[in-house]
Amino acid sequence: MSAYPNDPKKQLMRQVQQEAGMQNARLLVEKLNEHCFERCVPKPGTSLSKGEEGCYTACMEKYMAAWNTVSKTYVARIQQETQQAQQGGLRNSF
């Protein structure tokens, strides 16, 4: 591994990771707004009310908690299935 700061390999890796991080953030924002808008702003008024904003904050917190729960469950399941696949027949999907 080279120590040059502008090592093209490192540069490429960093860029790929940044892109992936951006894509992840973009998706999260999109989903958050989709769900929370539906639930917190059923009838859009002339501006966002204090109540709607408060609802958004809580809704975001809840959505991210749900994301974490889903993530943990999904990753645990993948690990479990990978182990099984290594032991027995190959049946991997999704």
Partner: protein, 98 residues
């Protein structure tokens, strides 16, 4: 992988042809790992989307915390049953193919 947009332009400066074989191999493995991670992450997004709809009822988003008695187990079961169901589809298609 998509290198379009702003990020792509600075990549043009990097001379990848000078990389050693070992570096190229390392990069290849890195890209494989990153794409797998991206795939898993995007599955998590769509699962959260679907299970949030099923498990979090309309009036309850105002409480920021997940309800440990109903909502959290519901989310976990939602993921597990979705994957079970996915397996049913795969097995059935496998059976039909034979």
């Amino acid at each position: 992988m998509d290198f379009s947009g702003d990020a792509g332009s600075s990549l043009g400066n990097a001379d990848l042809s000078k990389l050693s074989d070992r570096d190229k191999q390392e990069l290849q493995q890195f890209v494989i790992n990153e794409s797998q991670r991206a795939r898993i992450q995007s599955s998590i997004h769509s699962l959260t989307d679907m299970c949030f709809r099923k498990c979090i009822s309309a009036g309850t988003v105002k409480t920021g915390k997940l309800d440990a008695r109903y909502e959290e187990p519901c989310l976990r079961q939602c993921v597990d049953r979705f994957l079970d169901a996915n397996m049913v589809v795969v097995k059935e298609l496998e059976r039909l193919r034979q």
